[in-house]
């Protein structure tokens, strides 16, 4: 390509840009907003390698090296439980959430009364659209020490003392995993229900001609057709295994169960905003983000190799 052609190309592009100026104007608010609210905070990572005090500019904070990262990695007595809690609850909720939704979708397909089937599917979304405050309010009403479940069990003489599942370190994991599976069932099953709708009817007809029973159809036709969807959702979900909803854990974590309930996002909140140790909490956040990003790219790569499906 000669120099003359290049400048001519640039001029054409410039003319085009002038003609498309309205499109750029339409993009401007979104681009500015993303730049400010998503990319600009990345400068805040400077806090992790400096001694930051709230109220000062982050760029005036003196260099502190990597002592806050060291603190996090060496002080495992303080942070070890956070890693365990986060991974146990997220992995279990991801796997169980998807497997239950898969089973739900398979059995829902077998329901013969179409109005009832639609009603069940509608109801299954219900908790998903509720805020964590509402969910906790409802769970509190039923399962707190003086809640309905404990009161009923006590009056039936089945238990002596109320089962305190909301403030007991032994029940935190079970509580969160159960609530997550329950909450996400309808959402997760949408993918599987869509996949079932895409199974060609001939596969079922062929199975019936071969004498398949209902169970055979579910086991050898429906299930195999859903496995690829399951694998893709599992792989993609594992990219966010270190992330929790602060909305959820802010309300479920209390002084009684914090040892088994505390997850990364709550730990960062507690050290940063409650105790004012911004530099340390930011360092923990940076570690979490980088590990998550590596994981996301990794699982995406595996997914592309294994199933030819990927996020990007």
């Amino acid at each position: 390509m000669t120099h003359g052609v290049q400048t001519a190309g640039k001029r054409v592009a410039l003319q085009k840009m002038v003609r498309q100026r309205q499109l750029y104007l339409m993009l401007l608010p979104a681009v500015v907003s993303v730049a400010i609210f998503t990319y600009a905070p990345l400068f805040g990572w400077w806090m992790a390698v400096s001694d930051y005090k709230l109220g000062k500019s982050i760029f005036q904070a003196p260099w502190a090296g990597f002592k806050y990262f060291e603190e996090f990695f060496t002080d495992t007595a303080g942070a070890g439980h956070v890693i365990v809690n986060t991974l146990v609850m997220n992995v279990a909720a991801l796997v169980l959430g998807l497997v239950c939704a898969l089973a739900f979708a398979i059995f829902l397909k077998e329901v013969r009364w179409s109005k009832f089937r639609r009603f069940v599917q509608s109801a299954s979304f219900f908790p998903y659209f509720m805020s964590w405050v509402i969910i906790y309010a409802v769970i509190y009403a039923l399962f707190s020490n003086d809640g309905a479940v404990n009161a009923s069990l006590q009056s039936l003489g089945l238990i002596d003392k109320p089962l305190n599942i909301l403030g007991n370190p032994n029940t935190s994991w079970g509580l969160i995993i159960t609530v997550d599976v329950w909450n996400i069932l309808g959402y997760n099953s949408v993918m599987f229900i869509a996949a079932i709708a895409g199974i060609p009817e001939e596969q079922y007809e062929a199975a019936r001609i071969d004498g398949a029973t209902r169970f055979h159809e579910m086991r050898y036709v429906t299930l195999p057709n859903l496995i690829p969807t399951l694998i893709v959702l599992l792989i993609l979900g594992s990219g966010s295994i270190f992330n929790s909803y602060l909305d959820q854990f802010f309300i479920f974590t209390n002084t009684l169960n914090i040892s088994t309930m505390e997850v990364f996002d709550y730990y960062i909140y507690r050290f940063g905003l409650k105790q004012g140790n911004f530099s340390y909490a930011t360092a923990v956040g940076v570690v979490k983000t980088i590990v998550s990003l590596i994981l996301l790219v990794g699982v995406n790569w595996i997914s592309r190799k294994a199933t030819e499906q990927s996020l990007f």
Partner: protein
């Protein structure tokens, strides 16, 4: 070759009914409790139906200025937030759907990459402080005006529209803005409705932003955050008991009625929510 209805169908139907009950009953219980006559409920046992009937806890809730103000804040953010988000995100979606826009590849990368980046809680907090948004209503609205996920959804929909419509308008001398607002946007109603509704629910359900940024500004508390405080602070609130003079109610039943009041707006839009959801308009387009 239809099969007869057998034992399997009955058991399966029963299990599905049980699942449905676990999804609905917790909320039904709260409704029953809130409508029960507090003079009659000795302890709180499982209810299938309200015990007695009393609207006292609702009277208390509705005559409580704090709760009603919180309700208005929630309504304001759930209306204003989605409208502004829709305006800004749909314009951007239309612009990046144009393959001949100079530099569009880089703009797309800039936007899409932001979905996988998050600086985290504390850098976000410092930013909001630096911008002077703490203690203002706008902290609920501004951070979400460019929702990249929604931009992706709307763009995917715009790209399914026949190109001929736009072309003929452009030949007649219409500008991009005219084409977008007069032709493209009206055709995008299904995806716009879905995205807006979803944004409304998101706004209605948030409370953590109030905790993080408007902790010292009770006049900006949304109703969810007020309810959170009612649950977190287990003692009966002073103002509630002051407003309760003469009415038989308890802090517990007030919590129940506020829970129901906070749920009602979601119930009102629920048929539409689940329609868009089940149709896969939101979920299925994730990979678009």
């Amino acid at each position: 070759m239809k099969r007869k209805i057998g034992a399997f169908d009955l058991i399966n139907g029963l299990v599905m009914l049980l699942i449905t009950i676990t999804m609905i009953y917790p909320f039904w219980y709260v409704l029953c409790y809130s409508l029960s006559d507090m003079g009659l409920t000795g302890g709180s046992k499982l209810l299938l139906w309200p015990r007695g009937f009393s609207l006292d806890s609702y009277t208390v809730a509705f005559s409580n200025a704090t709760i009603m103000h919180g309700f208005m804040i929630s309504v304001a953010r759930s209306v204003l937030g989605p409208l502004l988000m829709l305006f800004i995100s749909s314009m951007a979606a239309y612009a990046i759907s144009k393959n001949d826009l100079v530099g569009v590849k880089w703009i797309r990368r800039f936007l899409f990459f932001s979905m996988y980046v998050s600086a985290g809680l504390l850098p976000g907090y410092i930013l909001i402080r630096t911008l002077g948004l703490t203690g203002t209503f706008w902290v609920y609205i501004l951070p979400g005006v460019a929702n990249v996920f929604n931009i992706v959804l709307i763009r995917a929909y715009v790209e399914t529209l026949p190109a001929g419509l736009e072309e003929s308008a452009m030949i007649d001398g219409a500008t991009y803005a005219t084409v977008f607002f007069r032709i493209v946007l009206p055709l995008c109603v299904p995806v716009i409705a879905a995205v807006t509704l979803y944004a409304c629910v998101g706004q209605w359900n948030s409370y953590i932003d109030a905790q993080l940024y408007n902790y010292r500004n009770p006049e900006l508390y949304p109703v969810q955050y007020i309810l959170y405080n009612y649950i977190a602070v287990k003692a009966p609130t002073k103002e509630a008991s002051a407003a309760a003079h003469g009415l038989i109610t308890t802090a517990h039943s007030l919590r129940m009625s506020v829970t129901i009041i906070t749920t009602i707006p979601i119930l009102l839009v629920y048929p539409f929510l689940q329609k868009y959801f089940a149709s896969g308009l939101l979920v299925g387009a994730i990979k678009a």
